[in-house]
Amino acid sequence: MWKWLHPYAKAEHSYALAGKLMPWFLVLTIPSFIIGIVWGLAFAPADYQQGDSFRIIYIHVPAAMMAMAAYSTMAIAAFIGLVWQLRLAEMAVAAAAPVGAIYTFIALFTGAAWGKPMWGAWWVWDARLTSELILLFVYMGIIALYNAFSDKVLAGRAASILTLVGVINLPIIHFSVVWWNTLHQGATITKFEQPSIATEMLIPLLIMIFSFATFLGVMILYRFRSELLQREQHRAWVIKLVQIKGRG
């Protein structure tokens, strides 16, 4: 059913569409980030147990959520790409993977940094941290596979297949790690999630999550556009685009 979408026009239109959407996302990201970070770090009340060190939650939780969101985006794109043979969707998988990997890395890093004051060690085999570490491995596998193919059309398809295999496996991995953790560590470690979070703390957190989500959109669109330009660099529309930009 997608065959009528002429492949030439399609790439051009997607490039333009991505270009139109990107500024809107950026407009949403910047103010929400400033409000969220200032509110969270300076005005939200300190935690009665953890003091100020809990404030890293304003980076850690949004990053961890967006690490998963990026993967879901990739999975949907991979599915569309493979089922309808849409090369652009496969390209989106490749564009989103490094963004997701970096979010995962931020989540891991802030999680470890949070662990230092909480547990007295930089690294603890907490279920959630371990799952994030494995998610990072999966991202790295997808990126490495994509880079290993010299033909980028095949690379995109291979990365899409691996992404879908990961979608089935990641929940199993997470489940197994949680189980492994409860058996091995018992209740000696306080979990991240507190029974409830005060409203004054929650609102800046939600703002930060919103900000991270829109920034995820910006990054994926940006990378999608550059990926597209690079892959189609010899096409007439790209050459024309470069000439116009060059003259202007």
Partner: protein, 212 residues
């Protein structure tokens, strides 16, 4: 029988051929010509469905081959650069494997086929111990037991001696006479009369057309 519509092939961003159209009916032999790198092998692999085209479609009996792989492969015999011969298995085992996994004549006689390609006496020798030309002949022996209609042959004459070439040419003509169709590439001058086959020339696209 076989039809290509607007076939465009791109490899690592370079166009090999563009908007290619042709039709092949029963009883026809199509000889693909062109310099090295013109995309002959790529076209053959597209025709088998092993690789997918950048754009355009291939039809077998008026239906897209992607949508009917299993029935298309019942009618397709493909001989590639790599002959698909397992070096650890004997000549006979290799042929038996072909007989069980592909569509063959019900009364196919493996020894008869080995006789035709001159491998009698080597039945129980592991393929690894044979010369390149002999290994090639194992693959060619498939042509005597198959009942596939469409043959796609990539350089079938490589490393064959003169006599074997003649035998093979006769087999090709016979297949066409029996209503089969053949697409082949070769740098060897066919001794088949010009009228008996069609030619399709692939040439590298001009500089400004190298990219889609």
């Amino acid at each position: 029988m076989l039809e290509c519509r607007n076939l465009t092939c791109v490899r690592e961003q370079r166009v090999l051929f563009k908007q290619l159209n042709f039709m092949l009916s029963a009883g026809e032999i199509l000889h693909l010509e062109g310099p090295n790198g013109a995309g002959k092998t790529s076209l053959l692999r597209l025709l088998t469905g092993l690789s997918s085209a950048y754009s355009g479609d291939i039809y077998w009996q008026q239906e897209n081959i992607i949508k009917q792989r299993e029935s298309y492969y019942k009618a397709l015999l493909y001989l590639g650069h790599k002959s698909g011969i397992k070096p650890e298995l004997t000549v006979l085992e290799n042929l038996q494997s072909f007989q069980r996994l592909y569509s063959t004549q019900a009364d196919a006689d493996l020894f008869e086929a080995l006789l035709m390609v001159g491998l009698v006496g080597y039945e129980y020798v592991p393929a690894a111990q044979l010369s390149a030309g002999q290994q090639r002949r194992i693959a060619l022996a498939r042509m005597y037991i198959t009942d596939c209609k469409l043959w796609i042959l990539d350089e079938p004459f490589t490393s064959l001696d003169k006599h074997a070439v003649q035998v093979l040419e006769k087999r090709l003509i016979k297949h066409a006479e029996q209503g089969g169709a053949i697409v082949l590439t070769t740098h060897h001058e066919l001794s088949i009369p010009e009228s008996a086959y069609k030619k399709l020339r692939l040439s590298a696209p001009a500089e400004e057309e190298q990219y889609v």
